[in-house]
Amino acid sequence: MLNQLRRSPKGTIQALNILFLLFLSGGAFYALKAFHTFMDVYEMIILVGSVGFFSWLGWSWHHIKKIMILAFVFSLLAIGLYKGVLTNNQEIFFLKYFIASQSAIMWMNVLFILSLFLYWLGLLTKSGLIDNFASSFTSSAVVFGFIGLLVRWYESYLLGLDIGHIPISNLYEVFILFCLITSLIYLFYEEKFNTKKLGAFVLIIINAAVGFILWYTFDRNADGIEPLVPALQSYWMKIHVPANFLGYGAFAFAAMISVAYLFSTNKILSSYLPKLDVLDDLIYKSIAFGFIFFTIATVLGAIWAAEAWGGYWSWDPKETWALIVWLNYAAWLHYRIVKGLRGTILAWWALIGLVVTTFAFLGVNMFLSGLHSYGQL
């Protein structure tokens, strides 16, 4: 399907791009017109900015445009079906079984699990067809995930106008975000490097997150929507959290590619996997990408902290660990760039980097308490 589209005449893609831009602007314009009384200036700037960002994303990467369009259309459909009544998610068939947020997220989970199996099957049988299936499954999972989050955003407003907020405020929600961002990063490189063999590895970490989501849902019943505590009521959340997860996602991706790299150097599956220097390059690129966004997120976090807690740096455990993660990857980049280090050591280091990152992401919430207490386990 991808190849087909790439071959399609440039004109069609251009037209689609413009349509997409119009579609996004229309949505934003409607939101501004209908809800401007609920928004402050910064939120309007973010709204307009996100139109710019998403259309730029769509223009430069065709695949994500399709994902976004599908997600938006289905979310709008869900909103239409809800008709402003929350209990409709039990009444209306299509909502109940497909696109109410909880159901969409379940579909996302299922599709991710299936993708993992398919990618491994494709890898071991060297079957391009199965790989293609796996890839489409992953894309569909992403679509469902986005529907889940968007509809959840809407549902939160149905709970109460003052309760409504963007669904990136607790661990359950950000885990979904993590799955989505990591898979998008993967899909991007999959297309760019034309290799579907790495999905088998990347989908492992995504499925770990899926496992967490499932545990969180069924064991902890933590999938409910909670109102925001005062400290989180800020437009900063809308940029700080996604930027952070672009970082986490990229680091996780790099770590899984490192696993593939280490397999390959040890002659495990090496004939099935892309060449070593391709993997090496991928690891570098994704860590560099993650590093930028992690830097941005940390700086934004500092600015937000200055506004919410009265100081841009408080040595809150989360902050300190963000610094540790950051220094770790800064060191990684230096060793690679300055010293020209390559290969196994850096791959191991990227893998250890993931452990450090995971601790910053989860461990801090579990073992240390501080100002960032929004997502206690």
Partner: protein, 621 residues
């Protein structure tokens, strides 16, 4: 190369060393956290480790910049158009084409421009032509931006790191105050001047009060920060969601500055601070500001009438006849509790609570928390009060069943009955009578009456645990089970009778809710003996006064930190996403063409670029 190796090892040491230090700081932070939990903030700007690390980082990065920048800048401005054939041939990526006498120059130049190169032509004296082309040459500048950014951030951080006080303390001019004395009495050596360039301090204002000093918490003491203006708290509000969770904390502030004719009025809330005269004022927390309380003390062990007392948070009330002192510590108007653990139960607001200590004559105290209104537990309403001996313990709760008027009265009546000897005797006699009529056996009546009486007296004096003790001491193990059953049954029956008597329900059947009430009342009665005070604190009314916790920050380094961050981000972007490329094309008059290609990063992308370039060049030339 050697220089680079050296640089790298320095970086390695810095960064590797950093991490243990950081984790060290975290542990330190945890330790501090215990102390500063109530303000929720602890900063380690004062930590000597932090300052050393910062200085080390600043120094080494500065060194690194000064080492590398000159060559980078030279490269940036220099087109390097003086290279000779020999040096071009020594490039790792080069290409030599022979027998090209008719090079189409315009085509080549166009191609280079299309590939976004900046091009310069330099004819040589010997008739050769050297074409130099560059692109992405902002990339090396990214190095400078990034590392200067790091230095600027660290310096900004140092500016706000309380260095002045630190040095003054080292030199012995200043000292941390550890005594709990009024701010005005704090001596000069523990005060920070109005002109202090940077600080992070806290102040607590009760509604209606004002202040012009703030406190900087340091280690186990504090410093007094004088402010150039006075802040008055007009009102403090907490808004709630429909679920009862807090939605916002807001303070209406009035700032009076002797230099200003008018006062500044402003409402601040979390995420919406006010900055005045370079001092940012944040909503940080809140507490009670001296709420007045009116309460009745309900005696648990005597049938005396309720005793009215009036108290105030942070003040003490002494009961002369009991030699007990009530110390009121906190009042909360809203308490949002999740009453069922773990289930998808919504949290509910159970209303006001008072936290207080009851201290006896010998100075020992227990801490209590009492909720004003009954709380629904398992579908029934209970007055709930917790007690603990030390702050580390969890509260143990006394749950007294509320009657149908949601009051304590019925329980207290019932308790009176249990403690009333003659009533208990009456009931014992009545039960013995009934049992004798049913069993048609008059001989057992006397002993039965006695044992009911004894049982009830035991229970009345110490609840179930007293009974258990009695059973343990007097009854052989095999018969225990049976005895317990019998005892409980008797207590049930006797209690029902007592209850009926007290609430005028004699000769009527009790309904299910009344039976449950009696059960709950018996449990509560038993627990009373572990409650630790002879009074139940029954809050009747209050007048709430809140206090707002403000944080005041002056951080001149903030600007520099932000500027440095911007430079850092731009620099990283430049380094990672711009690709520096340099190309030399030497067209010799004898038909030889030499192409050399270089970049400061020789990676996969560069190789790929070179391949593409050479292929396309060969086609053109």
């Amino acid at each position: 190369m050697l220089v680079f190796l050296g640089i790298a090892s320095i970086i390695g040491t810095i960064l590797k060393q950093n991490e243990p230090y950081e984790s060290y700081i975290i542990k330190f932070g945890q330790f501090w956290f215990e102390y500063f939990q109530n303000i929720g903030l602890y900063d380690i700007y004062h930590n000597i480790w932090f300052l050393t690390i910062l200085l080390f980082l600043v120094l080494s990065t500065t060194l690194c910049i000064s080492k590398n920048s000159p060559s980078i800048l030279r490269d940036f401005f220099d087109f390097k158009d003086s290279l000779e054939e020999k040096s071009l041939l020594s490039f790792s990526h080069h290409l030599v084409l022979e027998n090209k006498s008719d090079v189409n120059l315009t085509k080549v130049l166009n191609y280079l421009k299309q590939s976004k190169f900046r091009v310069r032509e330099k004819p040589k004296d010997n008739g050769d032509l050297l074409i130099v082309a560059k692109k992405g040459n902002y990339q090396p500048l990214g190095y400078i931006f990034t590392h200067i950014g790091v230095v600027v951030i660290c310096l900004g951080g140092l500016m706000d790191g309380n260095l002045i006080f630190k040095t003054q303390e080292l030199l012995g001019y200043k000292k941390i105050e550890t005594l709990d004395i009024p701010a005005s009495k704090v001596p000069e050596e523990s005060r920070l001047s109005i002109n202090n360039p940077s600080f992070r301090a806290n102040m607590t204002l009760a509604e209606g009060s004002s202040g012009n000093v703030a406190f900087v918490r340091v280690k186990d003491g504090y410093l007094v920060q004088d402010l150039p203006f006075k802040i008055t708290l007009k009102d403090f509000r907490i808004n709630h969601y429909s679920t009862g969770m807090p939605k916002s904390f807001e303070s209406d502030l009035i700032i009076s500055d002797p230099e200003l004719p008018n006062e500044v009025k402003k409402t601040i809330s979390v995420n919406r601070p006010l900055t005045y005269k370079g001092i940012a004022i944040y909503q940080s927390d809140f507490q009670d500001g001296g709420t007045t309380l009116n309460a009745k003390l309900r005696s648990l062990f005597q049938s005396s009438p309720p005793q009215k007392i009036q108290g105030k948070i942070f003040e003490k009330v002494k009961l002369d006849n009991d030699q007990l002192t009530f110390e009121f510590n906190d009042f909360k108007k809203f308490n949002v509790l999740k009453l069922k653990e773990g289930e998808k139960e919504k949290s509910t607001n159970v209303g006001p609570s008072v936290t207080y200590k009851v201290r006896n004559n010998s100075g020992q105290a227990r801490e209590f928390i009492t909720y004003q209104y009954p709380i629904q537990i398992d579908g029934r309403l209970f007055f709930v009060s917790g007690v603990r001996e030390t702050p580390q313990q969890d509260f143990r709760y006394l749950k007294i069943p509320a009657d149908s008027n949601s009051s304590l009265d019925e329980f207290l009546l019932f308790k009176d009955a249990l403690q009333n000897k003659s009533l208990v005797e009456d009931v014992a006699r009545k039960i013995a009578d009934q049992s004798a009529t049913i069993n048609k056996n008059k001989d057992l009546k006397g002993p039965f009456e006695d044992s009911v009486n004894k049982l009830m007296t035991l229970f009345s004096a110490g609840g179930f645990s007293k009974l258990a003790e009695n059973i343990d001491n007097n009854i052989p193990a095999i018969e225990k089970e049976k005895a317990v059953q019998a005892y409980l049954k008797i207590i049930d029956i006797a209690s029902s009778e007592l209850y009926k008597k007290q609430v005028n329900l004699l000769n009527k059947e009790l309904d299910q809710s009344q039976i449950l009430f009696i059960q709950d009342a018996l449990n509560a009665y038993s627990d009373m003996f572990f409650y630790g005070t002879p009074y139940y604190f029954d809050l009747t009314s209050y007048e709430q006064i809140e206090a707002s916790g403000l944080q005041l920050t002056k951080a001149p380094g903030q600007f520099w930190v932000y500027l440095g961050s911007l430079s850092l981000i731009l620099g990283i972007f430049a380094m990672i996403y711009l690709h520096e490329r340099k190309l030399w094309l030497l067209i010799k008059s004898k038909g030889r063409v030499i192409l050399a290609y270089s970049s400061n990063r020789k990676n996969v992308d560069f190789d790929r670029d070179f391949e593409k370039l050479t292929k396309e060049m060969q086609e053109i030339i």
